[in-house]
C-alpha cells in the first residue's frame, strides 16, 4: 500500500512537471507578445531596442533555461508579477482560490444532500414512474451545456423575476454598512445560481451511480439474510444496503472535486464569479502570461491531487484492487 501511494505520488509529480513545461512552451505561442505590444505603442522603439530588451529580460535564452528559472522561483513561492493587475500574482490568486473553494464545497454539499436520497429512492422503486422521470432528468442534467444552463437560470431568475443577482460575488459595501450576517446572506445570494448550474451535472451523475450501486447491493445474500431474520425494512436499507452501496460512491465523490475545479472555468465566466477559473480565462484573453500560467498550474495541481486521493481511497476501500 505504501509503495503504491509513493509510486502514484511520484507519477503525479512527473505529470505535473511535464504539463507545466509544455504549457510554459505553449504560452509563448499566444497571439500578442507583451514586448511587441509595448514596442508597437511607442514610436521611438526600434528593432534594436526590442532585441536589447529581450536580451535584458533573458528572453533570448533557450526555453528549458527560462523554464528552469521560472519553476525554481515558483516552487519557492515567487509566482511573479501580473502585467494587467500590476500586483504580485500571489495577492491576486489567494482570494480567488478561496472563492473557488467556497463554490466547490457548496456544490459538493448540495449535490450530496440531493443526489444520494434520490438515488436510493429510485433504486428501491426501480422501473416505477418516479424512476423513469428521475432518469430522464438525470440524462438532461448530464447533457445540458453548463454555460447555457447558467444563461437560462439568469434569464429566469435575474432578468424575468429579478430575484437573484445575475453575476458577481458580493454587493459592494454590505459588510461595512450592515454587518457580518447581512454580508454572509449577501454572499449566499450570489452563490445560488452558479451552484445550481454546477450541481445539476454532479447530481445527475451521482443519482445514476447511487442507483446502480444500490440495485447491485440489494440483490446480495446478506440483504436476504437481514430481511429473513426479521429486521425492519428501513433498517435493512439504511444499515445494511446503504452502508455497503455507498463505498464505491465515496470515490466518485472524490473524483468530482477535480471535475468541479476544471468545470468551474465556464460557470465562473458566465456568472462573473471571481474565482480561479475566471482569473485564468481573463488572463489568457488579456495576454497576462504569469497569471495565466500560475492559475492553470494551480487548477492542474488541484485536479491531479484530487485524482490521486480518489485512487488511494478506492484502493483502500476495495481490497480486490491490486497495488501493482
Amino acid at each position: 500500500m505504501t509503495a503504491y501511494i509513493i509510486r502514484r505520488l511520484l507519477q503525479t509529480v512527473i505529470v505535473l512537471f511535464a504539463l507545466s513545461f509544455i504549457t510554459y512552451g505553449l504560452m509563448g505561442l499566444m497571439p500578442g507578445d507583451p514586448l511587441d505590444i509595448a514596442c508597437a505603442a511607442n514610436p521611438r522603439c526600434t528593432p534594436e531596442n526590442l532585441d536589447l530588451m529581450k536580451k535584458q529580460l533573458g528572453l533570448d535564452r533557450p526555453i528549458y533555461e527560462r523554464y528552469g528559472k521560472w519553476i525554481f522561483a515558483f516552487v519557492q513561492g515567487d509566482l511573479g508579477y501580473s502585467r494587467t493587475y500590476r500586483q504580485p500574482v500571489t495577492t491576486i490568486l489567494l482570494p480567488r482560490l478561496l472563492n473557488t473553494m467556497i463554490l466547490g464545497a457548496t456544490v459538493i454539499l448540495v449535490s450530496l444532500l440531493i443526489a444520494i436520497p434520490i438515488g436510493v429512492l429510485t433504486s428501491l422503486k426501480a422501473n416505477s414512474k418516479f424512476d423513469y422521470i428521475v432518469n430522464f432528468f438525470a440524462f438532461s442534467g448530464i447533457s445540458a451545456p453548463s454555460f447555457w444552463l447558467g444563461l437560462m437560470l439568469i434569464i429566469v431568475f435575474s432578468v424575468f423575476f429579478k430575484w437573484l443577482p445575475a453575476g458577481g460575488v458580493e454587493t459592494i459595501g454590505v459588510e461595512a454598512t450592515q454587518g457580518t450576517w447581512a454580508y454572509l446572506l449577501d454572499r449566499a445570494k450570489y452563490l445560488v445560481l452558479p451552484t445550481a448550474t454546477l450541481a445539476s451535472l454532479t447530481i445527475a451523475g451521482w443519482i445514476r451511480y447511487t442507483r446502480a450501486s444500490m440495485l447491485e447491493t440489494m440483490r446480495l445474500d446478506f440483504i436476504r439474510t437481514a430481511r429473513a431474520k426479521g429486521l425492519a425494512w428501513h433498517h435493512v436499507v439504511t444499515r445494511h444496503g446503504l452502508r455497503n452501496a455507498l463505498l464505491p460512491v465515496v470515490t466518485v465523490v472524490a473524483l468530482e472535486f477535480p471535475r468541479i475545479a476544471s468545470g468551474a472555468v465556464i460557470t465562473e465566466t458566465v456568472f462573473s464569479y471571481q474565482g480561479v477559473g475566471k482569473l485564468m480565462f481573463d488572463s489568457i484573453i488579456g495576454n497576462d502570461f504569469n497569471v495565466a500560467m500560475c492559475s492553470f498550474i494551480i487548477t492542474a495541481c488541484m485536479v491531479l491531487v484530487m485524482n490521486l486521493v480518489a485512487d488511494i481511497c478506492y484502493a483502500y476501500l476495495d481490497p480486490r484492487i491490486s497495488f501493482k
Binding site: Q11, T12, V15, A18, L19, T23, L26, M27, L29, M30, P31, N127, F136, F139, S140, I142, S143, A144, P145, S146, F147, W148, L151, M152, I154, I155, V159, P258, A261, S262, G263, V265, I266, T269, V270, G277, M280, F281, I284, I285, A292, F296, T299, A300, V303, L304, N307
Partner: protein, 317 residues
Amino acid sequence: MATSTKTFENDDFEQPSGHVQSMFQIVLGRFMEHRLALVGLFIIGFFCLVAIGADLIAQMTGLDPSAQDILSRYGPWSRENWLGIDEAGRDVFIRLVYGTRISLMVAFVSAGASMLIGIVVGTVAGYYGGFIDHALMRLTDSLLALPILPILIILAAIDISKLPLLSELLKGEDSSVIKMILIFIVFSWMVQARLVRSAVLAIREQEFILSAKISGESSFGIIVREMLPNVLSPVIVSVTLNVGQAILFEAALSFLGLGIQPPTPSWGNMLNNALEVIYNAPSQVIIPGFLIFLVVVSFNFLGDGLQDALDPKAIRR
C-alpha cells in the same frame, strides 16, 4: 416490470419453435425496446439531414448566413426571418442551419478519428504487452488525469499554426474548424484505448486466437479479423457518447470566443455574446443552446440504448 418480464419469457419460448433469430435481429429487437434511444436516433437523423441539406435549405429560403443588414439588428420573428435577426443583422434561422453542419461535423470527425487512434493504441498495447503496453498505458493514464477543460482553453487560445508542422494545415478561413478537430482528437482517444486494451486482454489467451495463430495468421490478421469484431461493441457505445461530449466542448469553447471563429457559424459561437443579447433578444440565447442540449441528450440516450442492445451480459429490465 410486469410487461417486460412477459416479453422476456415470450422470447425464450418462441425461439426453439422453428424460427431462429440472427445476431443482428436480436440486437435490433433489444434496441427497439429502448424508446428514448429510438427517439434520440430519430432526432440525430433529422439534424444530420439538416446538416447535409444546408445548401438546399439556403436556396429554397433564399437566405444567406453571412448577409448583413445592420439596420434591422435584433429584428423580431417574421415571415422572412423566421427566428429573427442577430446583433450583426444576419438571419438567425439560416445561421442555425449552417451551425448544425459545423457543430456536427466537428463532433463526428473528431470522435471518428479518436476511435481509430483508440483502437490502434488499445490493440497494440493489449496484443503485444510488455514494454509497449506499459509505455502506452502510462501515456493514456497521464492524459486521462489532466484537467481537460483548462487545457482545451489554453490550446484553443494559443496560435498553434506557429508550430512548424501545422502551419500548412491551418490556412484559410476554416482554420479554426480544423484546429478544433485536431485538439479534440488529441484529447479524446484515451477511454477507447483502455476499453479496447482490456477487451483484447480478456480474449488474448482464448482458444480461437490460439487456433488462428497455429493456422499461421499474421499478427495483423489476428488483430483485424479475430480481435476487432470482439471488441467493437464497447467501442461503439463509447464513441456515441464521445460525439455528444465533443459537441459540448466545441460549444463551450466557441461560447468563450476561443473555438470556431465567426463568420463561420456554430451553435456555440452563436451564443458568444449571449450575455449582452440576453435582455434584447432572449430567444437568440435560448434556441442555439436548446439545439445543443437536444442533440447531446439524443446521443446519450442512443449510447444507453446501444449499451443495452449490444452487451449480452446487460441486465434485462
